[in-house]
Symmetry: D2
Amino acid sequence: MLVVMRHDASSDEIQGVVRAIEAMGYRARPMPGAQRTTVGLVGNDGRVEEGRLVGLDGVLRVIHVSQPYKQVSREWCPEDTVVELDNGARIGGEDVVIMAGPCAVESREQILESARRVAATGATVLRGGAFKPRTSPYSFQGLGEEGLQLLAEARDETGLAVVTEAIDSEGVALVAEYADIIQIGARNMQNYSLLRAAGRAGRPVLLKRGMSATIKELLLAAEYIVAEGEPRVILCERGVRNFDTHARNLFDLTAVVTVKELSHLPIIADPSHGTGARSKVGPMARASVAAGADGLIVEVHPDPTTAASDGAQSLTPDQFDELMTEVEQIARSLGRGVAQPAAVALSG
Amino acid sequence: MLVVMRHDASSDEIQGVVRAIEAMGYRARPMPGAQRTTVGLVGNDGRVEEGRLVGLDGVLRVIHVSQPYKQVSREWCPEDTVVELDNGARIGGEDVVIMAGPCAVESREQILESARRVAATGATVLRGGAFKPRTSPYSFQGLGEEGLQLLAEARDETGLAVVTEAIDSEGVALVAEYADIIQIGARNMQNYSLLRAAGRAGRPVLLKRGMSATIKELLLAAEYIVAEGEPRVILCERGVRNFDTHARNLFDLTAVVTVKELSHLPIIADPSHGTGARSKVGPMARASVAAGADGLIVEVHPDPTTAASDGAQSLTPDQFDELMTEVEQIARSLGRGVAQPAAVALSG
Amino acid sequence: MLVVMRHDASSDEIQGVVRAIEAMGYRARPMPGAQRTTVGLVGNDGRVEEGRLVGLDGVLRVIHVSQPYKQVSREWCPEDTVVELDNGARIGGEDVVIMAGPCAVESREQILESARRVAATGATVLRGGAFKPRTSPYSFQGLGEEGLQLLAEARDETGLAVVTEAIDSEGVALVAEYADIIQIGARNMQNYSLLRAAGRAGRPVLLKRGMSATIKELLLAAEYIVAEGEPRVILCERGVRNFDTHARNLFDLTAVVTVKELSHLPIIADPSHGTGARSKVGPMARASVAAGADGLIVEVHPDPTTAASDGAQSLTPDQFDELMTEVEQIARSLGRGVAQPAAVALSG
Amino acid sequence: MLVVMRHDASSDEIQGVVRAIEAMGYRARPMPGAQRTTVGLVGNDGRVEEGRLVGLDGVLRVIHVSQPYKQVSREWCPEDTVVELDNGARIGGEDVVIMAGPCAVESREQILESARRVAATGATVLRGGAFKPRTSPYSFQGLGEEGLQLLAEARDETGLAVVTEAIDSEGVALVAEYADIIQIGARNMQNYSLLRAAGRAGRPVLLKRGMSATIKELLLAAEYIVAEGEPRVILCERGVRNFDTHARNLFDLTAVVTVKELSHLPIIADPSHGTGARSKVGPMARASVAAGADGLIVEVHPDPTTAASDGAQSLTPDQFDELMTEVEQIARSLGRGVAQPAAVALSG
């Protein structure tokens, strides 16, 4: 951490900063420059409260040299983390993993039909919400535990693993009972009680980037989970807030590359929420794989025009099939494959 | 709701939209125009899933004419809501209400000293966090229930009402036991489980705008609380995410005016989080009152350089005193006053 | 255009809107709904000033049903525009066109060396700035006309076409004399005097999206050029402003898909400015082609560590070679190719 | 400038950075830390190309300690700049200066009527566009030189000074002939050819903040003008791009405070463009003065419902009168006044 002094800071003010740093238990190193003095704080363990320094007399601003996250950083662990599921799918490994299914579980027929269709052409994980966080209190909120049971039934039949969202601590326990992966949604990325509960549930966690979260905040949210003892965290880019409304969100694919540089955790991409429109899902799914994402999570519905939520961005099963062919070609051109459903069925 | 057809939509496609609307139980009204046809959906009760229409053949886009929130809207209730506290403070009434105190409760001395100082020059509500949602898992997380007890002690001594944050459902019950107002923080604005719990706790709720929440989303979050039976919701502007880093957040004071137009709920402003820097709190507190805010929530710490959090944006008690003088003058020039601590002490 | 009335608008207020629309020469069509009345404006030719309606008594808001751009829209012309250059390169056609070269022309050796290297492995157009718009008045501002002469010399030797930026009306004439494509930079996307001059210069125009331009504004800027008589406009996505600083800009690849839906103009992608970091250029270049971009514009410098500008985001020639191999594979997996330099040399 | 090395950077890589800095003519100072080494660059004169360092082996990132602007910075000149006009108005002095008038000059009657009305209740400067940069090529583009002549006539009659926009170099000469202040609009804030021309025209310049410009970029744009020899630059906050559409722009009043801290130049606020809606102009004009703005620029039209542009955000003359009363009270509560039209008339 570096404390930049105003150009007209007095030597008393500089000494004040030195004393404040030492009082916090660190070493201070003043560095006079051509225009101003900078005071380095040496020995920062990530717990320094910059507020104690920013407000001191003569201080212009404080600059962070180190990142505040630790265990999720690539500097901490240079090897890629690979999250292995019971059905054999390996997220963060060589092959691209496809998660697909409807936005919400609506009925037994709907989720079974969805599972069969996506399993047939490339998915290894089934998605589907049982607890739905909706912007309006008057929108469909999900089937709850019944939805979880239907997901488990679909898994038993198809060999797909299951990922589904938990929206509160009680829900985490329930989801952990039925699902292979606990999803934390974008709106809850900084719901720290929920992150802690998820980190203690004994299941891999899929952590979606918040609507206006920086990559640093995403990694710190992951750090909450890892700090509770769960190292199997999968990150997910799903678009951020933006001034333009040409798409529902601004899908930030560069984040995939940035996360790979800063962290050893796997990262997948969600082109359905990232774009919000069926016609854009295919091109951006292809782009995600080309950018290096470890997987995709895609909304597919047997009949999008009757979907209880997100119908506008759901693919039909036929569109999904077509997309899988394209995705496989892109993956191959980069020396990767798509995790195979056949292998899944065998191991399931 | 209006369904805008592509300019080359066939009459079959237009009929398809009409049938889909009728199948959902509403009436359809096609309106041919110079360039394209628009189909109006009549009878919308706020539960229409636009996804069912967006994806139909020939549809260009869907436009919402009505807002999805109801009970919080000014159309629903033209009269301003005034939230009255036990100590007599009335938020949303003629006078501007000042909430002040440290970011976090750190010790008995710190919170009592803060309470005495802010009560002496204009505050009627004491702020202070007992449960702190921190971006890093390694930062100070608050004193928990002990902090709540200290806040209650400060209330007993000074007559100030108490506002403090709850970060999960269990916390809501605890906070409701000790505090006059339950605060929902920005990171939890769309934590719907928490909103529901807060709406059932029997206390007024201070709802802070999320970091990238639109006004519509803020009002829908308030609707969650009101829908649970709690009409006493106070909104709070505290700055949003932005491309520039000259301030911690972009303090959106126009939101105060917009909320007043769209909703009957009171809205206060938080210039401490809105700017993130002590030197900017005073000017923006004045601006908030000039823009029409019903109150302010300001961070004040007996010694900001030792604060466990947010020291850089906390005022000293002397700076707070000076600000109160200015704020009172601004309020008077608009025909308002500042809610008086004297009156509070009497009723407390 | 639709004028949405307040729910309590009187019939006098509704009549006022009808009269205002008729006074502007259009037809008005009031549509009473369950909650409120909407008044349609029929016959809108794109010149309606909404300000005349927004401020009328009883009006809640005005909704635009049609887009304000015309000649650049796909509704106006369903066929893709293909921009053909003298050296045979066709932008917007089947093959992906690669534009590459240094940020700025710095010297004869530098630009010739760059041209030879990029021509050898896939580029058909040479980029390089002679007039540089720099954020600071103290930064290198380009070689001016001498730079243009060096670009022309590089074209003569390699057969590459030349694209370079003009920053004012005088510059447009000069650039048109030497270059095959006139570039309008992001900072000048709404410099309408410059757009008009470019539209009259008789050369294809490469129009870069502004730092916070919506797609609608980008298309309207293109409309300025086309309205002056120049139909050969190539759009370019190069990243937009964002709250996160993990990359220089937020590269909005979904814009490529959106532009293809709304317009017949070709669109290329600039992963160098879109990401700002060498390590991210390759993955995002691949992603751009996978998303459907008609071409790439990439910064390549013989020795990035000595570059006068943008060194941090410039590829070395070796990195460019490697990227071209990957890009070609991605293009092939989508049934496209990369426009061949060999063909260029023959036609050059 | 500080070059932060990766935690695993070798001593060869650190030496590489040292040599690169020395080769650029500066001194290098390596500072080993607990986690990583940082290399300070001493003697930075604001011309260092960071790109030469960012790309070197072992470099994590480069941090700027100093700001790149000079002459406009408060460190360069601690005294406030006061821009004095021929009619005696002093912008940046004790009194708040009001600029008011229509968006565009539409006719002789309209501009004279506007001038008389705003002069009568508090304005000292008349605004009105003769050259209008419009997003669509099909919108009204202004009266050109005829508009300038009408503005001059209004000045002669009322004693108001005149501010009007120039949109290209030719326009600058024309505007300088007729107006007291040359306005550079938001879309042209980084049109450097235009900034240079304005800096040589011998008139004070009103520089509006770009739609997504940081404060640093605003100050660098001002530096372009000052570097040409014109020290009389007035900055203007007019709202920035944002994800919410509740207002036309996000009016960033904190920028007023930030600019005052970083620069000695005066800054005024434009609540008309900052909010885009008549009902919001009054509250935000009051807030602007409360935040410390040196003046306001407000759109006023004799009959907003017939305005050729910006009618929705224009005040009627009666609304302007009412606002002036409020603004004066706010200014007085802060110990300032409103520059008096009477004084203007005498000096005019």
